[in-house]
Amino acid sequence: MITPRQNGFAMIEIMVTAVILAIGISGMGVLLLKSIQSSQDNSQKSQGMWIVQDLVGRMRANSEGMRAKAYETSGAVNCTQVKMCSDYNDDGFKSSESCTTREMANFDRWITACGVSAQVYDAASDTYLYDSPADSIINPELNVTCTDTTDRTSSYSGEDDCVRYFIELTWDTKLQQGAPDAADRTFKSQFSMVMESN
């Protein structure tokens, strides 16, 4: 009787298959990571839009300050606490003070770029505190410039009235987390708009 000769897979073949499979699966993992990152990036973009929208509303509510160029920024916004023109909550309800248009503009810029408390995470009590939409984006930088003026002189500043602003909010994203150089690992995302004064 003839014994049938059976030939299975060799060990080496199985191993090679396993390695190829593993590479394939890890590729899918990267895909997932990318998908999480871009959905977070999108959510931050939308958050950035709201922050700018809010600032526009604040500027329109303080039209004298807006026309007097009080909202222009020069460099990064200083995050030391300013005179509080709005009731707020910082470990309990805190009352506001009445502000001049310039103080109000200062406050609006500050709360847009910094939030009430700069620190989001307190390690000692294992507590996160989100007190403004700016807390959900990383290192927000605000750039507001006046791009157009009229001949009409602002009674407040003695300069020409500003009628058009360019507002830009920039923040860090982590889209290139896997990059070898630290400098490449974060890069900027931004939202900008032009507003005309009322």
Binding site: M1, T3, M11, I14, M15, A18, L21, A22, I25, M28, G29, L32, S35, I36, S39, Q40, N42, S43, S46, Q47, W50, Q53, D54, L55, G57, R58, R60, A61, N62, S63, E64, G65, C85, S86, D87, Y88, N89, D90, F93, S95, S96, E97, S98, C99, T100, T101, M104, V116, S125, D126, T127, Y128, L129, Y130, D131, S132, P133, D135, S136, N198
Partner: protein
């Protein structure tokens, strides 16, 4: 006789080790996929809720103090002033209140219709002012579960109150769910002839409707509860969310977002100095 040769023990063990390693990888991938789906879903739900709520609120609140007769003044907010007494029933359920419940404030903006004009209430009822009714004043009321009879959870609600007849046009209806809280501040001018906001305060500090220039609103959105097995944030640290003057605290690991906006009130700004 047929000689059979099976796998040796060594071969079987190596095969099962490789199999287990592969399975572990695949399982890991599945778990991650599942979490990604929940996370993207949560992020999307928060975005959607926030965007719709803010658009709806901003649109309606901007109409505060609307009066087609520009000489006449309509107070932007429904608070105790003039003929309006917010302690009387049923208007007490319609007036603007700071910290109404654990879900924040209730806001109530007033608009006027003159003869020949019409509008719609929140629930779609026609509001008509004609020669017979004369000028009519209505208030649009917003809040999270602002209706005392409401049993729903986390619903942003809207109701329309007929101020002249001191009655609800229709009871509060839910506009959308997944709103954890709503808060607002009122921007006041320093003097009645100034057009600019000099201070933002809670509504209980507002006594003069003539000084109101703007409204700041903030909402806290959440996503549908995923159940304990599928929490979106892996660390269950305490998370505090400050909406303007109030703080909300959670330890359940749900994904939440703050949305805020400032709405200047054109009607009140234009009326500055006229009253």
């Amino acid at each position: 006789m047929l000689k059979q040769k099976g796998f040796s023990l060594i071969e079987l063990m190596v095969a099962s080790v490789i199999g287990i390693v592969l399975l572990a990888g695949v399982t890991n991938l599945l778990i991650t996929t599942n979490r990604t789906v929940s996370l993207s879903d949560g992020v999307a739900q928060n975005q959607e809720t926030g965007r719709f709520a803010m658009a709806y609120l901003s649109k309606h609140l901007r109409e505060a103090g609307y009066n087609p007769d520009f000489i006449a003044f309509t107070p932007p907010l429904l608070i105790t002033s003039g003929d309006i007494d917010c302690t009387a029933s049923p208007i007490n359920d319609a007036c603007a209140v700071n910290n109404l419940s654990s879900r924040g404030d209730r806001i109530s903006v007033v608009f006027t219709l003159v003869d020949g004009e019409s509008a719609r209430s929140c629930a779609g009822t026609d509001l008509v002012a004609d020669a017979a009714t004369g000028t009519r004043q209505f208030a649009t009321v917003f809040g999270v579960n602002s209706n005392p009879l409401s049993t729903s959870e986390k619903d942003l609600q809207c109701g329309t109150f007929d101020i002249d007849n001191n009655t609800w046009i229709d009871s509060n209806i839910s506009i959308l769910s997944n709103v954890e809280a709503f808060d607002f501040l009122v921007g006041l001018a320093a003097t009645s002839d100034s057009k600019s906001t000099s201070r933002y305060v809670t509504v209980d500090q507002v006594t003069d409707n003539n000084l109101i220039r703007s409204i700041r609103i903030a909402i806290l959105t959440t996503s549908q509860d995923q159940g304990d097995k599928n929490k979106l944030q892996s660390q269950l640290s305490t998370r505090k969310y400050a909406l303007l003057d109030s703080v909300y605290e959670f330890t359940d690991g749900q994904l939440r977002n703050i949305f805020s906006n400032t709405i200047e009130l054109p009607n009140s700004i234009e009326a500055a100095g006229l009253n």
